[in-house]
Symmetry: C2
Subunit: 219 residues, 2 copies
């Protein structure tokens, strides 16, 4: 692939504040965007994420109250995604979930599973000091920013705009997701971020970044 065209997509992408309500993303294109999320890597390959696409207008309306930064996106996005991340109970090195995941999803042999869990125990307890629930959740959530980047960049590569959002009251929003209306298991999942997709209504503002000399040094 051509570097210039790839960089064009990086320059095309911006945090789109409002989408053109007349333009919807095709099923094929949105499937492609999700696929780049699905194929994303994660620490130990645990894929600790689940994406909920909220298309129902009433539900989008309900999200506005606690998602102060999402209003115009909830109103205008072609597709609106919530990224859920597995909670510590599932992500601790000795969890039943990971045991099942390594055995039945990754289909690893028993000796490799034992080895990986050993690495993971040492990593969580010692190397990265993941000794509280909050620390484990934050580590898990970091992983979910990988599919975020991949989905918004890949969308830009096919001319689709996006807006990632952390602008929501996390606790209140999770409580809403736990109600019967949404029916999400918030004992299992935390809400990492929201991300909207569609086609821009207005021109993008000028992109400003620090120059490369300030971003990179060599040794």
């Amino acid at each position: 692939m051509e570097k210039e065209k790839i960089l064009d997509a990086y320059n095309f992408r911006h945090a789109c504040k409002e989408f053109d309500v007349e333009k919807k993303i095709s099923e094929e294109d949105f499937k492609f965007i999700l696929e780049t999320g699905r194929l994303s890597p994660s620490s130990f390959g645990f894929e600790p994420w689940h994406f909920v696409v909220v298309q129902n207008k009433d539900k989008r309306e309900m999200l506005k109250e606690s998602a102060w930064g999402a209003g115009p996106k909830l109103d205008t996005a072609s597709h609106f995604v919530l990224c859920l991340t597995l909670r510590p109970k599932y992500m601790r090195y000795d969890s039943e979930y990971l045991d099942d995941f390594l055995r039945n999803v990754k289909k690893l042999p028993e000796n490799v599973i034992g080895m990986m869990k050993g690495f993971c125990e040492n990593f969580q307890k010692n190397d990265f000091d993941l000794n509280t629930d909050r620390a484990i959740l934050d580590w898990t959530t970091k992983q979910s920013y990988i599919p975020l980047a991949n989905m918004i960049t890949s969308a830009a590569m096919i001319g689709i705009d996006s807006c990632p959002m952390e602008g929501f009251k996390q606790k209140e929003t999770e409580e809403l997701l736990g109600t019967r209306t949404f029916g999400i298991d918030i004992e299992k999942y935390s809400l990492s971020y929201m991300v909207a997709f569609g086609y821009r209504k207005n021109e993008a503002p000028q992109k400003i970044r620090r120059p490369i000399e300030e971003v990179v040094s060599w040794q």
Copy 2:
């Protein structure tokens, strides 16, 4: 750009365990990879990262002791990158650093700066409960996983392999980086991850991911 070709890159990418020492990434290609990191988005646009490319053999050797997962990559990667993330002192809503950043890098007008800092204060204190140094650092580090994803995916798009790593003792490695040899200001920066780039020595193993039905649900 063609969706099929983009997905080919996602399938090409894997955590490359060992690189072909005979093959080096061209300056132009590596500049391109770094550029996709530089152009990555981040919460509030704070760009809280700095990349150190470690090419010196002796320094790579020194990293091995605390970076248990990096050995063969340190030995064989064409380019080896450390991602540093700004510490809480710099990332709190009322820090001098952010004030300067918004004023002199982003060149925002005073009223917008005031508004953004207000949003940021509320976000950190209330919405996301970033009320400890650890929580702020973890939030900052999440942002750094966005350029990580972009760099490894973009590398794959031009046929370059990579391996992101969390396999290091964080505290010990940061202490090493703070020595005169590396000279990194570890009062300012934390080490988020390492990522190696090069050309694979061996074939990639089969990629295994949960099926899309388990990754996505619709409402």
